[in-house]
């Protein structure tokens, strides 16, 4: 090994650094100031969806909890009335909790949901200072309403929202 060999090697390495610095695009994202968009099938924190009319899609059937392999979901149902309506049909989730420390983001809950109410969203910013903060309640999971008059519960016309699961018109659908 010659005397200059280390210097040659070192300048080769530095040259590589210089090359990528000058000619390659930057991949570092300045998180949290800057955020990268996630892939379309990314599975992040859950969101409870609403219909266009503002009613909650969730009917409190608890099938997500049944499908959950980590036992992270707890659902308790109550009865809707036309005076105080949360969701279409007779039943709504009066309690909906997901323990994010337990969740393994497998998406089974999404698959089990008969109304497409629960969706794994694109939010991956989950950090807690307390274990109890890891339990997301219905309020924090529910999608916000587009306008103030669409809040739930609300009074609706009698006999309009009788069915929990949207009716399937075409059997091949």
């Amino acid at each position: 090994m010659g005397v200059f060999d280390p210097i040659i090697e070192l300048s080769k390495g530095l040259g590589e650094v210089l090359r990528s610095f000058l000619f390659e695009p930057t991949v570092t994202v300045q998180y949290p100031e800057e955020k990268r968009t996630v892939r379309p099938r990314f599975r992040g924190r859950h969101v409870l969806k609403r219909y266009d009319n503002g009613l909650e899609k969730c009917i409190g059937c608890s099938l997500c909890a049944a499908a959950c392999p980590a036992d992270a979901i707890f659902v308790e149902a109550s009865e809707n009335t036309d005076e105080k309506r949360f969701s279409p049909g007779q039943r709504y989730a009066s309690t909906y909790e997901i323990n994010m420390l337990r969740c393994i983001y497998c998406g089974f809950c999404e698959d089990a949901c008969p109304t497409e109410a629960i969706v794994l969203g694109d939010n991956y910013e989950l950090s807690f200072t307390d274990r109890r903060d890891a339990i997301y309640t219905k309020d924090s999971l529910l999608e916000s309403v587009p306008s103030g008059d669409m809040l739930t519960p609300r009074k609706v016309d009698v006999g309009v929202f009788v069915r929990s699961v949207p009716e399937m018109k075409d059997p091949t659908d």
């Binding site: 009917i59 059937c61 049944a66 707890f74 009865e79 007779q90 009066s94 008969p114 399937m168 091949t172």
Partner: protein, 823 residues
């Protein structure tokens, strides 16, 4: 034993009694034929066509009547079309094929048709998860329907049939199980079909709707989610529930139940009871449960539950530690010596009562049973024999019901007695007023209030009725305290005992005397040595009283007065009552749902119950509290393990001979098979895996001579002019502390009433529905008049526990009009 026939189902040979239905025979062989309308407890109708199978019978030669043989085997002739396994009875040599392409095709077709109009409600349906339609759809349903969904029949959803049961007309598949249950089993035809074809609907024919105390059972046997209870509405999904075995505490039948529990956010994250389900015990409640047992459990979770020991300080009850509270009580009881009185009710478990009795015996005090009914010593002598099963009684047997309205007091006994009468048993009902059982009785004896003993004694004389009773193969007598107090019922029990002894209906299974007690474990209280006291007021005055599981202050102003004159009052209960308010020290006890123990039913069956929910607050089990007080008095009683208390009990109480907790937990196979998630659907009744209990042997069974105790009958009351004889009667839904917290049942409780004969009412110048004032013994109260022409004149029937303190027949002084007719 009936003739046995051998048939072949799917290549498997089965030998079953002649007359068995193919579907049942297959189940016995472990083969599930899918069913909807067929239920082994109901008559076959063949309405749903789900059980289509191929049936072949041996071919007979028309000329000789002999079986045609082919290659040394009988030639089997199959019907060209499928037959229903639920309506065809087995015959010798029959061959049934349930899994051939032809049979499965038929079954698939049935499911496809049923689904053409069944709504997609499974996610919100309370039956979802334990629904046979779901199971059968998974097994036989078409992957895709050929049906256009726009043509689905839309009907009303959630129609309340009564306060307790709602009907979803869309989900109903018209199997008629509910209608048939009401007609055949309950004998109350309050449901029926309306309209025809695709519009066929279930309707209620009664007013108020679904007027039956057995209505909850229809939700169990409904094979879809058409009938659901208002109590469990959206309570939880069935797979989320935990199940723990228990015993119903509402009446002396001792129905086996399963408590379904779950953690509930509404209850602050506590584990609570979500619903009470029947647990199969063919010798006790079969697979049924009455509405009181099903819906009245809420009291154990009432806001009025006691959670901390309380000690009276400066006229006020203040929280104290267990040590301080028990020490305070122990000091007072030690001082009282012979003046210590323990007043306990039959709501307690055997172990609790035994510890209390031991404390009374060792400390020299007296133990009194808080009850208006006597005769437990007679039932211990001539009670029904071991192995008694009313469900097996029928032709040639006799059942006598005297001074008891079983429908109001012990509905499941009513149901089973009625069914025994349906099977041909001679039913004799002796009651001073009309009861719902009269309709099914062969003989109805109507006597005047006060004549019950004479009526029973007359059955020893020669008459058509007494002949039939004496000649019966087996005979059971149910006696109660309808219209009677402690003395009256004690005398009646002795008279019934004598009658059974004379006719030799004692010491055998299905023979003997059954007391229709007011509380679940009164028979157990008698067994461990508790006795009621005729003059309770005198027994309490000036004494140091330890009241357990009873509310004498709330029940009777006279007892309240007596207790105010007591030296010291310690109260141990699960709920705040009027009695805890006057107590010097209060101990919070655990409800039966929070602990283990045993109850003795009216048929003297000892059964275990288990802990289902966590303990509320600092409550402790009754036997442990007693033991702790005893310890402070220097008396050692077992107080940690309930099974050890039971062992000690068994060693000291003769009738509990050699019982152990293990024996009580034994089970054996039962028919029909219910409670499994299989295709042969028997209902959501739970399978019994936690114990069938053991019946105690009566004295008559030991072969010892039976001497029925003689009780002196008190002189009959003679009302003067303008006075009436007021007698207590029992109501199923009353205002007792165990019913009040159940909001659903409250709607059926109604107002306090007084029932009069039309002539009596006319003499008093009152009409039905009028509001009147009744007064006796310094008590008075407002009641609504009811008219009944089946009772005798000059009496007024006043229900117990409905706000008027009546414990025994009394002379009621006046009935004065309060206001005009009330709607």
């Amino acid at each position: 034993m009936s003739k046995q026939v051998t048939i072949t189902i799917d290549g498997k040979q089965v030998t079953v009694p002649e007359g068995t239905l193919i579907a049942d025979a297959a189940k016995m062989a472990g083969i599930d034929i899918p069913v909807f309308c067929h239920h082994p407890k109901l008559e076959p109708v063949g309405m749903c066509r789900m059980c289509l199978v191929e049936v072949g019978r041996p071919m007979l030669d028309r000329a000789t009547g002999q079986v045609v043989m082919e290659n040394g085997l009988p030639k089997i002739q199959f019907m060209p079309k499928l037959e229903t396994a639920c309506t065809n009875r087995v015959s010798d040599g029959m061959v049934v094929m349930t899994t051939t392409d032809k049979a499965v095709d038929g079954q698939k077709g049935t499911v496809e048709f049923l689904l053409t109009s069944h709504p997609l409600d499974c996610p919100v349906c309370d039956k979802g998860g334990e629904c046979p339609l779901q199971n059968l759809t998974m097994a036989f349903g078409p992957g895709q329907s050929r049906f256009n969904y726009d043509e689905k029949n839309h009907l009303e959803k959630m129609v309340p049939l009564g306060e307790l049961i709602s009907l979803d007309r869309e989900r109903c598949i018209q199997c008629a199980r509910c209608i048939r249950f009401q007609d055949e089993v309950a004998g109350e035809a309050v449901l029926g079909f309306d309209e025809r074809g695709r519009n066929t609907q279930i309707i209620t024919l009664s007013d108020p709707g679904f007027d039956s105390v057995f209505s909850g059972n229809t939700t169990d046997i409904c094979p879809v989610g058409a009938l659901t209870t208002a109590d469990f509405r959206f309570g939880a999904r069935p797979w989320e529930l935990d199940a723990e075995a228990s015993i119903c505490t509402q009446c002396p039948v001792g129905c086996n139940t399963t408590l379904n529990t779950r953690r509930e956010a509404k209850a602050g994250g506590d584990v609570v009871i979500k619903r009470v389900m029947p647990r199969q015990n063919e010798e006790v409640n079969e697979i049924w449960l009455c509405d009181k047992g099903r819906f009245a459990y809420h009291y154990t979770e009432s806001k009025k539950r006691l959670v901390k020991p309380l000690v009276r300080k400066d006229e006020k009850l203040a929280r104290a530690s267990w040590d301080a509270a028990t020490k305070f009580a122990a000091e007072n009881f030690s001082k009282a010596k012979k003046d210590m009185v323990i007043l306990a009710s039959g709501r307690l478990a055997n172990e609790d009562l035994f510890n209390l009795k031991s404390l009374a015996d060792t400390a020299g005090g007296t133990a009194i049973l808080y009850s208006d009914m006597g005769g437990g010593d007679v039932t211990a002598m001539v009670g029904v024999g071991q192995g008694t099963n009313i469900g097996k009684m029928g032709k040639g047997d006799a059942i006598l019901v005297v001074a008891s309205d079983l429908y109001e007091e012990a509905p499941i006994w009513w149901l089973r007695v009625k069914q025994a009468a349906d099977r041909g048993a001679t039913l004799i009902v002796a009651n001073p007023c009309q009861t719902k059982l009269d309709k099914f009785a062969k003989f109805v004896i109507r006597y005047a209030y006060g004549d019950e003993v004479k009526t029973i004694n007359d059955l020893s004389k020669k008459s058509k009725i007494s002949d039939e009773f004496a000649k019966a193969k087996n005979a059971i007598v149910f006696y109660g305290n309808e219209g009677l107090g402690l003395n009256g019922s004690s005398v009646l029990a002795s008279a019934c005992g004598e009658l059974l002894k004379e006719t030799e209906h004692i010491g055998k299974p299905n023979n003997g005397l059954v007391g229709v007690w007011q509380r679940v474990n009164e028979q157990g209280a008698w067994e461990v040595g508790f006795r009621p006291e005729p003059d309770l007021e005198k027994a309490l005055k000036g004494k140091s009283v330890y009241i357990v599981g009873a509310d004498p202050v709330g029940d009777s102003p006279a007892l309240a007065k007596a207790l105010k004159g007591a030296k010291f009052v310690a109260v141990q209960d699960i709920l705040e009552t009027a009695t805890t308010e006057i107590a010097d020290v209060v101990f919070p006890a655990q409800a039966y749902t929070e602990r283990e123990g045993t109850f003795t039913s009216g048929e003297r069956r000892v059964q275990r119950f288990y802990a289902a929910v966590p303990v509320k607050g600092d409550a402790r089990p009754d036997f442990a509290i007693t033991s702790q007080i005893a310890r402070q008095m220097g008396i050692i009683l077992e107080g940690t393990s309930v099974s050890v208390v039971f062992d000690i009990l068994v060693n000291s109480v003769e009738s509990f001979n050699e019982l152990t907790y293990e024996r009580l937990a034994e089970t054996h196979g039962q028919w029909p098979i219910v409670g499994r998630g299989d295709l042969y659907y028997g209902g959501t009744t739970y399978e019994n895996t936690q114990g069938l209990g053991v019946q105690l042997g009566s004295l008559a069974e030991t072969g010892k001579t039976v001497h029925i105790p003689k009780v002196r009958k008190e002189a009959a009351l003679r009302p003067k002019e303008k006075e009436l004889l007021a007698v207590p009667v029992n109501k199923l839904y009353d205002r007792g502390v165990t019913i009040n917290p159940a909001q659903l049942l409250n709607q059926r409780v109604g107002e306090a009433t007084v029932t009069l004969h039309p002539d009596t009412a006319e003499n008093l110048g009152v009409e039905a529905g009028a509001r009147v004032k009744i007064s006796f013994d310094g008590i008075s109260g407002e009641v609504v008049v009811k008219i009944d022409d089946t009772i005798s004149t000059g009496v007024a029937l006043v229900p117990r526990s409905m706000g008027i303190a009546i414990r025994e027949p009394v002379v009621a002084r006046v009935l004065s009009r309060v206001e005009g007719k009330v709607k």
